[in-house]
């Protein structure tokens, strides 16, 4: 089962988003991409972003950014942070900002628990949640569980810049487990109630997450940055189980259109 492709389609593959219902583009709110620059045009300052922009982001392959000295190059096809000795922050979308220096796995030698605690602390102490914290490149490890899989995994959400990348990585991570039948490779249209309900009624898998308030949400609703900041834990569950989360997605659908 080519899980990754299917899961990409869950969030919307690159390019397909352009063919979306034009109503989406008329949604007036959008959020700038990391660092303030944007490949989608001038960012607006309000927090929310049109759905088209969330899905339009192309799948960004991790570049083999020149690593200083003796570090091995990362294989971009393997999106798993914990496997790569070197990961590079993708700065392609950000011509305005100088490329971030490649962050090396496990350096400085501070345990993840401490890094995460400090990341939470710094962004809180700096006040507004909109302000990009200087700890932007700090790891945001969250556990990923998949129903039926024998053990949990962990991903660092900061290693990805979009839902596409995340879904790709998740797909690879859990590709060894059978995910059940996938239907036609249709992108899940979060704005389309009936399609969403179809998915949630099926036995296909949907990714969900627990946010800071302790609520379980469907992945893909909120802009990527907001997701990274609020996601505490990921769980890939059967669509039918995620039905209870659908109302929230429905509310968001309704509030947007």
């Amino acid at each position: 089962m080519e899980v990754s492709r299917r899961m990409v389609n869950l969030f919307g593959g690159g390019g397909i988003g352009r063919d979306l219902n034009l109503n989406l583009k008329e949604t007036e709110l959008c959020l700038g991409l990391p660092g303030g620059g944007g490949s989608e045009g001038a960012p607006k300052t309000n927090g929310k972003r049109g759905f088209s922009e969330t899905v339009d982001l192309k799948l960004n392959l991790q570049t083999k950014e020149a690593a200083p000295l003796d570090l091995k190059e990362a294989q971009s096809k393997n999106g798993l942070k914990e496997k790569n000795p070197l990961t590079a922050h993708d700065s392609i979308k950000d011509p305005a900002k100088p490329p971030a220096k490649a962050q090396v796995v496990g350096w400085p030698p501070v345990r993840s628990y401490r890094k995460n605690m400090m990341a939470n602390k710094s962004s809180k102490d700096e006040g507004s949640a909109d302000q990009k914290p200087s700890t932007a490149s700090m790891a945001a490890f969250v556990k990923v569980s998949m129903d039926g899989a024998p053990y949990l995994r962990k991903v660092d959400l900061k290693m990805y810049n979009s839902y596409d990348q995340l879904s790709d990585a998740l797909g690879k991570m859990f590709s060894s487990f059978t995910m059940g039948n996938y239907g036609a490779q249709e992108m899940i249209d979060f704005m389309n109630e009936s399609k969403l309900m179809d998915l949630l009624n099926s036995s296909e898998y949907v990714p969900t997450y627990e946010d800071k308030d302790g609520d379980w949400m469907l992945v893909g609703d909120v802009p990527w940055e907001m997701f990274v900041e609020s996601c505490k834990r990921l769980r890939i569950m059967k669509g039918s189980e995620a039905i209870g989360l659908a109302p929230r997605a429905m509310e968001k659908c309704k509030s947007r259109s």
């Binding site: 000295l69 003796d70 091995k72 914990e82 962050q103 350096w107 400085p108 628990y113 400090m118 710094s122």
Partner: protein, 627 residues
């Protein structure tokens, strides 16, 4: 478990005390690779039973020996005694009640239980330290399962289990709780793999539980309210440490537990516990000696009624408090409440508290008896100067980074280090993260702090030279190994050439643990160390230009070591194979960072090797290749 006030520098003070320090046993594993049993008829051991064949005197001698050997507690002494002759070997084995397994794969559980039948306490360590920093792929191993299964049958009277960097499941914990009716102490450091269900099993079934310590351990929240699972009535609890457990806590159950645990001395709460809740616990347990304060703040605006709480008096009633930690979501306005107890404090851990310089200075000025201090670098050089001015008795200092990145402005530097060296001459252990450093400050510390046993300096920018002179940091670290004659643990960083290693090889004669990252020029560097440091036990190296020639220069020593870790260096498979051929009792593991990939024939991602009596392990995952 003896918790004495005398400071032991190798002990992780904010992890539960390791009663079995590695220092006790530099040269031998436990159990040692068994030589063929020595000649029973030895001129030296006149009293050896085999010389006098009468069974009666045999037995008498053995009984006497048993009684005498029971006084031997130090592992090294016991190992030595076991080598005297067969009879001593047997008797020592019968009387050993504490077993220390420094590497869980060095020996099989069955072998341990066969040799030592009457064990009450077990210490098992699993993964190597670099696994903490994501340098080891997931699911490498170190499973507690086989151990608990074997010990469950062999040691029904087992009382204590201490695990470090092991993986254990809920099922393992259930089995533990079911197998050991007299179980007393469970200490889990840097472990993972289980959830609150496992804790619930231990809480409910181990009726004589004295110690439940979880430090830096991941616990999955699976909904079970484990705190409520402790039995009704008085408990034997002396230590309850769960500050790292990121799960919600049933506070009423916790409060009730504290109230009915009259022997409780150590309590470390997680950050779900607010300061208001802390207050309620503290007033009920004023005889605590070790307290982890939880959040030391509160998430929501306080109920106006709560604001009347007199935190200050509550804390000053804790006359026995010597060790304070927590402050996980600290609100600085509450800090003055602890000023009154600061004078009694021997240990203070503020390493999760992002408080400003001024707040910190107000606090630290009272801590004149402090011996152990952990802080964030947000206290700045100025804060460290305040420490140097007040804490003349300081033995251990750890300065952690608030921003663990390279290339940012760092709040601490050589200024802080210099100040500490001048103000704290009794310093024995230091861990210091910074962005910039100078050789001069490190040299100063080597001169001012001759008692240093542990020196770990992490200059976070890779290959950073002395930021004033531009020179490599060789001279600084060289001075440390030269002048600190008691040094056993060293971690180096910054721009380092082979010269630094030459110093270490030449002067670091007592060094047992060495941590190297992004350092050195050539094979020669590593050769210096392998040839020069006879006590080297644990060597962890990453991203340094050492290759096969260097690796092969250590063949004479690897059987004396606990392990060698080399990741992203310049080793080839051929070189590692040669080591494996030359040293058959060494487990040579090659780990690959790319899952499901054919291992590249040339380069080695990670080499992890360790002596082992049991041969290649059978639970190795796909990315591990054992030569």
């Amino acid at each position: 478990m003896s918790e004495n006030n005398r400071h032991h520098p190798q002990q992780n003070h904010f992890c539960p005390a390791e009663t079995m320090s590695e220092d006790e046993d530099p040269c031998r594993p436990s159990p040692p690779p068994p030589p063929p049993p020595p000649e029973p008829v030895s001129k030296k051991t006149r009293n050896c039973a085999a010389v006098h064949p009468s069974p009666h005197s045999d037995r008498v001698l053995e009984i006497v020996l048993e009684h005498v050997l029971q006084f031997l507690t130090v592992r090294r002494d016991r190992n030595a005694a076991s080598l005297v002759c067969k009879s001593w070997y047997r008797t020592e084995a019968l009387t050993r009640s504490d077993v220390f397994i420094g590497n869980c794969y060095s020996v099989s559980p069955a072998r341990v239980t066969t040799r030592f039948p009457r064990v009450r306490s077990v210490v098992i360590k699993g993964r190597p330290r670099f696994a903490d920093f994501n340098l080891m792929p997931q699911n490498w191993g170190a499973h507690f399962g086989p151990w608990v299964a074997t010990m469950g049958k062999a040691y029904p009277l087992l009382e204590r289990v201490y695990l470090k960097r092991m993986s254990l499941t809920d099922r393992d914990l259930c089995l533990l709780a079911d197998s050991f009716t007299k179980f007393k102490d469970l200490v889990l450091v840097c472990c993972e793999g289980f959830g609150t269900s496992g804790l619930a099993a231990v809480a409910s079934k181990c009726r004589q539980l004295r110690v439940l310590d979880l430090s830096d351990t991941e616990v999955l929240y699976d909904g079970v309210d484990w705190i409520s699972c402790f039995p009704e009535g008085e408990t034997c609890l002396e230590s309850l440490i769960f500050d790292c457990v990121e799960c919600p806590i049933n506070f009423e159950a916790l409060e009730s537990l504290v109230v009915r645990s009259p022997a409780l001395k150590k309590l470390r709460l997680n950050r779900e516990v607010s300061i208001g809740q802390l207050y309620r616990l503290v007033v009920r347990a004023p005889s605590l000696t070790h307290l982890g304060t939880g959040a030391f703040g509160h998430p929501e605006p306080q109920d106006p009624n709560d604001q009347e709480m007199d935190y200050g008096s509550a804390f000053s009633a804790c006359k026995s408090l010597v060790c304070l930690s927590g402050f996980r979501e600290v609100m600085p306005e509450y800090l003055p409440a602890i000023h009154s107890i600061c004078t009694n404090l021997m240990s203070l851990n503020l390493s999760y508290a992002n408080i400003g310089v001024e707040q910190f200075k107000l606090l630290i000025q009272h801590c004149c008896r402090l011996q152990v201090l952990w802080v964030l670098d947000s206290v700045c050089d100025e804060g460290l100067q305040a420490v140097a001015a007040t804490c003349r008795d300081l033995r251990e200092l750890r300065v952690f980074p608030l921003n663990a990145q390279e290339d940012v402005e760092g709040p601490v530097s050589e200024v802080g280090l210099q100040a500490i060296s001048e103000g704290c001459p009794k310093l024995e252990s230091i861990l210091y993260f910074c962005q910039r450093m100078t050789n001069a400050a490190v040299v100063a510390m080597s001169n001012n702090c001759p008692d240093l046993v542990v020196f770990r300096l992490c200059i976070m920018g890779r290959h950073q030279p002395d930021h004033i002179t531009g020179a490599p940091m060789d001279e600084g670290f060289g001075a440390i190994v030269m002048n600190c004659k008691k040094l056993t643990r060293l971690a180096i960083s910054g721009l380092l050439t082979d010269r630094a290693f030459a110093y270490i090889g030449r002067y670091g004669k007592l060094v047992r643990t060495l941590s190297v990252a992004f350092a050195g020029d050539s094979d020669t560097g590593l050769k210096y160390v392998l040839e020069g440091c006879p006590k080297l036990q644990k060597l962890e190296i990453r991203d340094s230009p050492f290759g096969d020639a260097a690796l092969l220069s250590g063949l004479h020593h690897y059987y004396n070591m606990r392990f060698l870790w080399m990741s992203t260096c310049q080793l080839s498979q051929r070189g590692c194979e040669e080591v494996a051929r030359a040293l058959p009792r060494l487990a040579v593991e090659l780990l690959s960072y790319e899952e499901n990939e054919e291992m590249d024939n040339e380069t080695v991602d990670v080499l992890y090797m360790y002596r082992s009596l049991q041969g290649p392990r059978d639970d190795a995952p796909q990315f591990v290749r054992i030569l």
